[in-house]
Symmetry: C2
Subunit: 472 residues, 2 copies
């Protein structure tokens, strides 16, 4: 794969790998050129064999172009707010949606279990946490990833039938996506809290916030979220952990209609104060917006582009455009980052949430260079943020033509993760994320940086090899 000619200069020695050899040679007076190098595919022969068969395959490149073209031409628009069981096709009964790949109750981590208990109480399927837990564990509740229903949820990501959801439509291809409304900070269901305070807030969101916002969205004729994300990237957001600009732009887009909604002024004011108090409010729109774009890119025969990355708090799972409905999973990792006062890594739940859909779409951790202030939240220095974005161009197919990074001379965000490139380079996608406490209901304890486990990509490339290596 790598050919070197006429190098090193006469009389020199090339050292590859650990550097111990180089030191020893230098002590003996030789001109040593140390090469920083990792073997492709972690040096695994089976994977190298697959990569070799996929190398130079223009049909795969073309399939990826098709997938990316569908992603790039998608136009996600917020068209309304509905009740989950009415808005999301096929969803209802005693089913709960959750973040990440499929998981059973006995494998669920603390925050996800807490959110499930809270959702059961919210739905009235049980009248105490104990009864809810019994119901949750004995097989009477059907669990499904949000992603199987074109939905996404941050952290635990639990959606129950009666919850209000944003409804987005990709006006180019007609597919829809869904997300709950962001509950704010502190004790919230998405971190596994289920106290009365949490349930009261969810009821207020159902009875007051959602109906008022629904009318404003309808009066607006729909809100173009793609243009809003593009603007937010020029205003210091990366639309995963920094959404201050997105939230501000959303408020600007909604308020001329909000003031005309026929509801008591005090309720409208409370809605505005609720959104205003939470700079993450836009996250529950940036996520389904890029979900709608990525879903348009899914299902392209021969495409090796990743269309989902998601975590349930126990496992990390990905899907690949050309590999249908298969999840490729590995263990969710511990996030490295800045902890809030009083907390440390021992309090952290493994990586959780569907919010890595932002990185899948080339924003979030991939666009950190557009959001330098985020290092004050997730750790690191400004140059790290720039470096993370630059590194992601090594594992992606193209540069986004709508989402650009000012400091990189308005270069498009690194877009379309190619599993071949991840396996060949060993560079894993860079995700930045919130950190949940491992116990239900404690809430966020920090924020930081994390990667998917290597296993997801190893399993995916093996499956991709089986499907396509022989020229199918």
């Amino acid at each position: 794969m790598l050919t070197i000619r006429n190098w090193p200069p006469e009389g020199g020695v090339i050292s590859v790998g650990s550097g111990v050899f180089a030191e020893s040679m230098q002590e003996q007076g030789a001109n040593v050129y140390q090469v920083k190098w990792q073997p492709p595919a972690h040096g695994k022969a089976e994977l190298i064999d697959i990569l070799d068969k996929l190398d130079g395959r223009s049909d795969i490149d073309e399939a990826n172009q098709t997938a990316i073209e569908r992603f790039s031409s998608a136009q996600p628009v917020l068209i309304g707010i509905g009740i989950a069981q009415e808005a999301i096709p096929g969803f209802g009964g005693r089913m709960l949606l959750h973040a990440g790949p499929p998981i059973a109750w006995d494998k669920m981590s603390g925050p996800l279990r807490g959110a499930v208990i809270g959702a059961i109480l919210y739905e009235g399927w049980a009248d105490s946490p104990d009864k809810a837990e019994e119901l949750a564990s004995k097989g009477d509740i059907e669990y499904s990833p949000c992603h199987e229903y074109s939905a996404v949820g941050p952290m635990a990501g639990v959606i129950s039938p009666r919850m209000p959801v944003f409804i987005l439509e990709n006006r180019t291809h007609g597919n829809r996506s869904y997300s709950t409304l962001n509950e704010g900070l502190g004790k919230v269901l998405r971190y596994g809290a289920y106290s009365e305070e949490v349930l009261d807030r969810l009821r207020w969101m159902e009875k007051t916030l959602a109906p008022i916002l629904k009318k404003a969205v309808e009066l607006s004729g729909g809100i173009d979220l793609k243009s809003m994300i593009a603007q937010a990237l020029h205003m210091g957001d990366e639309v995963h952990n920094r959404n201050r600009a997105g939230t501000s732009l959303l408020i600007r887009a909604l308020v001329p209609y909000l003031v005309e909604v026929d509801h008591p002024q005090a309720d409208i004011r409370k809605c505005l104060e609720f959104i205003n108090s939470n700079d993450h409010f836009f996250l529950n729109l940036s996520m389904p917006a890029v979900k709608a774009m990525l879903e348009a890119a899914h299902g392209i025969h021969r495409s090796s582009v990743v269309t989902i990355m998601a975590r349930n708090g126990t496992e990390f799972g990905i899907k690949v455009s050309g590999l249908g409905n298969q999840w490729f999973t590995g263990p969710a990792q511990i996030v490295k980052g800045l902890y809030f006062p009083g907390y440390s890594e021992k309090d952290a739940n493994p990586d959780i949430g569907d919010s890595a859909i932002t990185e899948t779409a080339g924003v979030g951790g991939f666009a950190m260079a557009a959001a330098i202030p985020i290092v004050q939240f997730v750790g690191g220095a400004p140059e790290d943020a720039v470096r993370f974005s630059e590194k992601m161009y090594s594992i992606t197919t193209t540069e986004n033509r709508h989402f650009t990074i000012p400091i990189l001379n308005f270069r498009g965000t690194p877009t379309g993760i190619d599993i071949r490139k991840v396996v060949e380079t060993g560079i894993l996608p860079q995700i930045n994320t919130g950190i949940a406490h491992k116990d239900p209901g404690v809430g966020q304890v920090g924020a930081g940086l994390v990667n998917p486990p290597w296993e997801c990509f190893e399993k995916a490339i093996i499956a991709f090899g089986k499907e396509y290596a022989d020229g199918n």
Copy 2:
């Protein structure tokens, strides 16, 4: 002033200046070290003499620290909206305020004349443009810089007695500042337009916009503009030519109160649409906010810090903290930048407006590194924006402790222009600005970069020398 020891290395030659000497020496085989150097104070003996006398004067440094401490501890808050002649002490009768240093009708440029005519028509002092011009030119109108009344105005900056103005108070020192409300884009008074469309908009602003916003501001209990500017600098604004984040944050701060104002919903909606349609709306708040901060730093005996830079379209003028009420002026320059389609430099009016108060306070052109996307508006590349900010540390006293630049590792903005440093280095303050058409009423024709004329600083340092060089 500059001492070099043990340099160049043995056998080398130092060449200072044009480089011709160095080339000639190199041809003769010498090791030549070319030094990029300009003589201090443009090589003028009189100025060098003054600088020498001011050199190492700790009393001046201490006075500058006092000035900067007052600037830094100022807390500008939007406390209300009033009618100019009622809100601004001493202002009224047949007086018009304008941007920049003092100027008589016969010296005024096109856009300023147009704005004066428009203001006379708006006040009803004349009923036709011809009659207004006659009135304006024959000495019946008293003209004064906005700055003499603690006010600031972008571009022509004309304030007439009946116009509504924002009222700001510096809660630390009690001083107030004022600015009109931004009229929006296109044909507007500040660019010298005075058609019925312009006057109708001003009347709507007086009768509808101002009363509604006034109530919302009062309900809010005051809006902290210093914190808003600090946030906007982390969201891609430099609060002179890019105010998208500031405008968004202002809307967020106002809307919970706006929805409670007892006015017809249609009027409130129109107000919101008016503000929403104009990302420069916040400029008319960032300007008086930093004006209130700088005014607190003015009048400090022995301080060589600049507290005003302002242009009237003909002349550029500055004031210095320790030099009382004197203006030091020079000819306003032509702005170098990007022109809108159909316009070029021959259409440009010389530099105009009080908006250089932002650069005086260390934001605007001084904080361009915080607002990389602005290069798409004023020209240049991202690295130019970073370079401009970095260069300004050479002529300023300190780094702002509230306003920071993320990409420069959260370094404080370069703050407190010291006339000694400007004259010594020959580096002029970097301003970015809109470009007005030279004819009244055409409007903005572009945006770009400009410096003050050298004369302002030469005159100021001579006056400063007279006042303080002998140790007073």
